[in-house]
């Protein structure tokens, strides 16, 4: 709860500080202070020092899992700000507002993490989405940014409608918006609404996490948005949507899993297929990363699918594995002129440490052992195996994951094995602190890839 309150307040603080500090660069510092505050606040929360621990008549439900997830997300957020906050100020004339919107998003994320009521879920999702529509379109002169924003908005609003229809049906069946009571029929016979409502909710949440065939907005929105916001959306927001998704299905619909597991499995396969296969064709690294985020979503869907303890642990591990890697790569991408693969040519000889870190990030995304990404994927697969059936899903996932190597390694190939065409350094603002931060991220990924329990998951169990 600390998070929700502090981030809302800090958003407002940011809005007003724009009045007092006209220099753009100040906004960066305030935002970073805010992120640190959030981190502290959430840590205090974990240790029982909350501003309020009220559940508001059961609308919220706090659990250690959610706190740890938020903690990880906040670390990623801080990592993101430290790496890319300066680039945020370069997007347009309203840096304070952009940061404020991000903090509002964080508040929304807090809501969707702890929701125990569909109303909170709905409002939370909207609080997350509406700022994103704006951030996507924040590069106003850029037609691509405009287009991305409008596409994102139209499809997003449409999915909101679908979500609401689903919620309505669920309510019709149970007479309650409380997650834990969704499956109890209010009166005999009303159960027919449940599967229908379930499908609509599935579609709407599938949209948010960009599961096929509801993923179409993702490449366009990610590609069109200013790269620094793409990074934020693709990494942090995506994960939050997943946690909401998995919580809803785990706490709300677990008993009905016989009905939704197969559709979800098919969605997963379609997501993996489309994400991986389409990414292969891409020429722009940014767009490739958009498709790769779809492919990664396919893997994370496995966690929703199996919904057991392994799945939850896996999702927890996926958070840093995916966020840090994505943020790191985007941070490098932002500093480049050329977003095609060729733009990376010869990076290793010019910036060896950056190239090394990007390599670690890519390996992590590809799920190579010794990186956190491996265990993230491992837990996903293991959780499916643990459900007993659906081994074909594991095998399909594994085969399709192989394809991902193709596009991730193209970047590595460009960095290490090809030489740059131009002579001068092509990374803007490549400072020592930037390098060290990237290195810290890479080391974190490797450390998590060796000791996932010791560093992270034991925390959950304790």
């Amino acid at each position: 709860m600390n998070l929700i309150i502090i981030s809302s307040i800090w958003g407002i603080v940011l809005m007003f500080s724009g009045l007092f500090f006209p220099r753009k660069s100040v906004s960066v510092n305030i935002a970073i202070i805010g992120a640190i505050l959030l981190l502290i606040a959430n840590t205090l929360d974990i240790n029982g020092l909350s501003i309020t621990s009220s559940t508001f008549n059961g609308l919220l439900q706090y659990d250690i899992y959610g706190y740890i997830f938020l903690e990880l997300l906040l670390i990623s957020f801080l990592f993101y700000l430290l790496l890319s906050a300066k680039q945020v100020t370069e997007v347009g004339n309203h840096p304070y507002e952009y940061f404020a919107l991000m903090f509002f998003v964080m508040a929304g994320i807090g809501l969707v993490t702890f929701f125990n009521n569909l109303l909170i879920l709905f409002i939370g999702i909207e609080i997350v989405s509406i700022p994103l529509y704006i951030l996507t379109g924040s590069d106003k002169r850029n037609l691509k940014s405009n287009e991305a924003s409008l596409k994102y908005f139209l499809t997003g609003a449409f999915s909101t409608g679908i979500l609401l229809l689903g919620i309505a049906f669920l309510y019709g069946a149970s007479g309650s918006f409380q997650v834990d009571r969704l499956l109890t029929e209010a009166r005999p016979g009303l159960g027919v609404f449940t599967p229908i409502g379930l499908v609509f909710v599935l579609v709407a949440l599938g949209f948010k996490v960009s599961a096929a065939p509801f993923h179409f907005w993702t490449p366009d929105a990610y590609d069109g948005a200013p790269t620094v916001f793409t990074s934020f959306m693709a990494a942090i927001v995506k994960l939050a949507a997943f946690v909401a998704f998995s919580n809803l299905f785990l706490f709300g619909f677990a008993d009905l899993s016989a009905k939704w597991q197969l559709p979800l499995a098919l969605m997963t396969v379609a997501t993996l297929l489309i994400g991986n296969v389409t990414a292969v064709y891409q020429q722009s690294v940014k767009r490739m990363l958009a498709y790769s985020s779809i492919a990664q979503a396919g893997f994370m869907l496995l966690a929703v699918f199996s919904g057991n303890d392994l799945a939850r642990q896996g999702l927890l591990l996926y958070t840093p594995a995916y966020c840090i890697a994505t943020i790191g790569i985007f941070a490098v991408l932002i500093r480049m002129e050329d977003y095609t693969y060729d733009g990376f040519n010869g990076l290793a000889s010019r910036h060896p440490m950056v190239a090394f870190c990007v390599t670690v990030f890519l390996l992590s995304l590809a799920g190579i052992p010794l990186t956190a990404g491996f265990f993230a994927k491992y837990f996903m697969l293991a959780s499916v195996v643990k459900t007993g059936g659906f081994l074909w899903l594991v095998i399909v996932a594994v085969v399709l994951a192989t394809i991902s190597v193709y596009y991730y390694f193209r970047v590595i190939q460009a960095m290490y094995f090809r030489t740059a065409s131009s002579g001068e350094s092509f990374l803007k603002a490549e400072t020592l602190s930037f390098r060290l931060l990237l290195l810290a991220g890479a080391i974190l990924l490797i450390a998590l890839g060796v000791f996932p329990y010791q560093l992270l998951l034991n925390w959950l169990i304790a």
Partner: protein, 477 residues
């Protein structure tokens, strides 16, 4: 503890190498590290109790994985091979010109850490870990220091093996789940599986290993990869990494899925034999020296695999000793190929000729190695091949007949190679080979010594692997 050292020494050594700035220092350091690995293995073989060699530590107890290393006969043999091979490689490429050699040797040593890990791991997840880890440095080695088409070829190699290993991971996961959430070799091999489970799990595992070996028809990455890789890496690939596949069959596939193995052994043997003949045929047509050796290696590995699946004691023994012998012999072939390439600038057999006149020493060494490669008696490979053919024969006469044809074809392509490179009128290129690099010659001489020691007194190796063979026999009886 020794097993842990065998992983840590190259690992630490490799990391240190990244820091070293001078070329000479990197080489000396690498040699030093390789020697200390060798010393460690020898120490294990001669002065320590086997029980002490294993290592066990908690790692991921909640998902049933632990950092468990187990030294048995086969593992010791393979570690010995890896240590020997690394010393020889370092010597052999001492004079080669390598750009940023510290990184090169660093990655090379990291590969060794991975390979040794594969040989020693007795925990399924750890095994998978090392299995992949061995691949990553190799990927960089080949892609950075390789030949003209290195990027695409290495990538193909990587994706191919990666796909295979992911399938294995799926299988491992399933088995671990069946074993009540434990990845230990012991627990996995005690799982009771129905025959249908065994049969599909078998293929998940086997494909991973088959790609690595490689067994026909999963082999097409290999000639390309060998051709394009820097020679030192090719040496590691063919002398050590293909053994990973064979070793995995012994250490993992057999104990885990005996039912599946029995069910499909005929298919696997026929595949292997088909691969032997197929590769031999193609080897006859190769003009590139490296490709020729690559195909010949496929043929030899096919035999080892077939013998393992033939399922009798002689076959196991033969396969074990041949795993070592093939590693040594093929290394010799690569060293010769490397000398020729370094000196003449070509690998095309058709462009060479008359080297025996300018470099009789090289000719003699190559002839010895090549003859060992075609398993002439009194060389190390003969023992293995004799036992393996006998094992195949015991399984079925037709196996032995079909596989035996490769004896003939092997002679055909090997002699063709010798003839074209060394005999005939000397070409201009041949003159450049008059002085041999000392390091490479030294390793070749050492290899020749190993060839004859193995060929005359194989009992040393049989003693070493006796316990592994006994384990295998227990599984199938």
């Amino acid at each position: 503890m020794i097993s842990l050292l065998l992983i840590l020494i190259p690992l630490a050594g490799g990391l240190v190498n990244f820091i070293l700035r001078s070329d000479q220092a990197a080489r000396i350091w690498t040699l030093l590290v390789s020697f200390s690995s060798l010393a460690t293995v020898l120490c294990h073989l001669f002065c320590s109790e086997t029980a002490n060699a294993s290592f066990q530590a908690d790692w991921l107890s909640l998902i049933g994985a632990s950092f468990a290393l187990q030294m048995d006969g086969a593992a010791a043999l393979m570690c010995l091979l890896s240590a020997v091979v690394y010393v020889l490689i370092t010597l052999a490429i001492w004079k080669n010109d390598i750009r940023s050699s510290n990184n090169f040797f660093a990655l090379l040593l990291l590969t060794q850490a991975g390979v040794n890990g594969v040989f020693l791991a007795s925990d399924g997840l750890l095994f998978y870990f090392f299995w992949e880890l061995a691949l990553i440095p190799v990927y960089f080695l080949c892609s950075i220091w390789g030949g003209e088409k290195r990027i695409s070829v290495t990538f193909k190699f990587f994706v191919y093996t990666f796909l295979g290993s992911l399938l294995m991971l799926a299988g491992l996961l399933y088995m671990a789940y069946q074993a009540g959430g434990s990845f230990s070799l012991q627990a996995l091999s005690e799982v009771k599986l129905s025959s249908s489970q065994q049969s599909w799990l078998f293929w998940l595992f086997f494909v991973a290993f088959a790609v690595k070996m490689p067994v026909f028809p999963f082999h097409t990455w290999q000639p390309d990869a060998y051709e394009q890789s820097p020679t030192a890496v090719t040496m590691v690939l063919s002398a050590l990494m293909v053994k990973m596949g064979l070793f995995a069959v012994v250490r993992w596939l057999f104990p885990l899925l005996p039912g599946g193995v029995l069910q499909y052994s005929a298919i696997v043997i026929w595949l292997s034999i088909a691969g032997m003949l197929y590769a031999s045929f193609i080897a006859m047509k190769q003009d590139d020296l490296k490709r020729l050796i690559a195909y010949s290696s496929i043929a030899h590995i096919g035999l080892i695999n077939a013998a393992l699946f033939a399922g009798n004691e002689g076959g196991y023994n033969g396969a074990m000793i041949q795993m070592f012998s093939h590693g040594v012999n093929v290394l010799g072939m690569w060293i010769v190929a490397d000398i020729i390439e370094q000196k003449t600038g070509t690998r095309k057999i058709s462009e060479l000729g008359g080297l025996a006149q300018t470099s009789p020493v090289l000719a003699i060494l190559l002839v010895i190695v090549a003859l060992a490669n075609i398993a002439l008696p009194l060389t190390n490979a003969f023992i293995g091949e004799f036992l393996m053919f006998n094992a195949l024969f015991k399984a079925s006469v037709w196996y032995a007949v079909a596989a035996g044809l490769s004896i003939i074809f092997g002679a055909v392509y090997t002699l063709r190679m010798i003839q074209h490179i060394f005999l005939g009128d000397k070409t201009e290129r041949a003159d450049k080979v008059s002085v041999l690099p000392f390091g490479a010659t030294l390793s070749l001489v050492l290899i020749c010594i190993l060839i004859f020691v193995g060929g005359l007194y194989p009992g040393l190796f049989f003693q070493l692997t006796a316990d592994s063979v006994a384990t295998l026999l227990k599984i199938f009886n």
